[in-house]
């Protein structure tokens, strides 16, 4: 598999990060809970989640982070790096809902290769589930290795 590598020279202030659309399913939530040894029933037991006042099982807090990081990793490519990342959990999400991860470049330092950006994960109605920010690093030239 080959992946196009973005360079620091390709990035400008105000540039939009390519969106990543995710549609978590009940299966996805169960497997995420299982492989992280998380038995909290609000993530896999609909009847229990409703007892707690939720309309359905809830997407895990850190799954929102995983989706945002997937978008960032795709942006920096295999030779780029994610330096810093932060996000807040603001809104709940349910299986079957489409979550759109996006972002915008807020600063570029061509000398160091660092790129700052504001990021977010939103639902189809525009409501924000998880706002955040990140600092990334991009190479200035294509790496030699393997090419």
């Amino acid at each position: 598999m080959t992946t196009e590598q973005r360079l620091i020279g390709d990035v400008g202030l105000g540039m939009a990060l390519p969106e990543l659309r995710k549609r978590p399913t009940a299966t996805m939530l169960f497997r995420f809970s299982a492989c992280t040894w998380n038995a909290h029933r609000i993530h896999y037991d609909r009847a229990y989640a409703q007892e707690e006042g939720h309309p359905d099982i809830l997407v895990q807090a850190t799954m929102h982070g995983a989706f945002l990081l997937q978008m960032l990793q795709a942006f920096v490519g295999p030779a780029g790096r994610i330096r810093r990342f932060r996000y807040s959990n603001r809104g709940k999400a349910l299986p079957g809902e489409t979550l759109v991860c996006g972002g915008v470049v807020t600063a570029v330092d061509a000398a160091t290769g660092e790129v700052s950006c504001d990021i977010w994960e939103a639902k189809g109605d525009g409501s924000i589930c998880a706002p955040g920010s990140a600092v990334l690093w991009l190479p200035s030239v294509y790496p030699d290795a393997g090419r």
Binding site: M28, Y48, E52, A61, L69, Q70, R86, Y87, G91
Partner: protein, 177 residues
């Protein structure tokens, strides 16, 4: 004193500023890859050792927030008898049994890549335990800073984990999670 205020006092007294050390354990490629598959993230950096090496890594890496989600010590976990009805472990005496916990967010600083096959240790310190009024009423905000290192001592990741505690959601079903 409110349930939130009481819990905040207990947290500060029992945990604030105190550090606990734990072993995350051996980072296993199978479980890292299961994590990636679970969120439908098939980046070859997590699956193809040669691909990772040709892009500046020393081998297979884990997804960026794998450690930050795993987070806990490599133990079998509480027994069935130690679990409560919501699927969470029975809290300790200084914890918050009357409040519901929710992930509030995370900040991660990536110092060095985490490789499959490494043994990782964690060092966690509670850096904040404050009561705050939110839209849905008072909440306890707990922040814990965790530094993860390889057994060589190399610093891998700094995580600040925010957890929110508030009265259970059935009393206020429109709360955020």
């Amino acid at each position: 004193m409110s349930a939130v205020g009481s819990a905040a006092s207990r947290w500060r007294e029992a945990y604030l500023g105190k550090t606990r050390r734990f072993d995350v354990g051996l980072i296993d490629a199978l479980w890292s890859q299961r994590y990636a598959v679970a969120v439908d993230d098939l980046d070859p950096l997590y699956f193809d050792d040669q691909y990772a090496r040709t892009h500046g890594y020393a081998g297979l890496v884990v997804p960026p927030n794998y450690l930050a989600t795993k987070r806990v010590a490599a133990m079998a976990g509480p027994t069935e008898g130690e679990m409560q009805g919501d699927g969470l472990p029975v809290p300790g005496p200084s914890n918050t049994p009357e409040l519901a916990a929710m992930g509030g967010g995370q900040e991660l600083v990536f110092h060095n890549p985490v490789y499959c096959g490494e043994f990782i240790r964690g060092e966690a310190t509670v850096i904040r335990a404050d009561e705050r009024d939110g839209r849905a009423g008072p909440m306890l905000i707990v922040e814990e800073e965790i530094n993860y290192r390889a057994d060589t001592g190399e610093l891998k990741l700094t995580l600040v984990q925010t957890t929110l505690y508030r009265v259970p959601p059935q009393a206020s079903p429109n709360d955020d999670n």
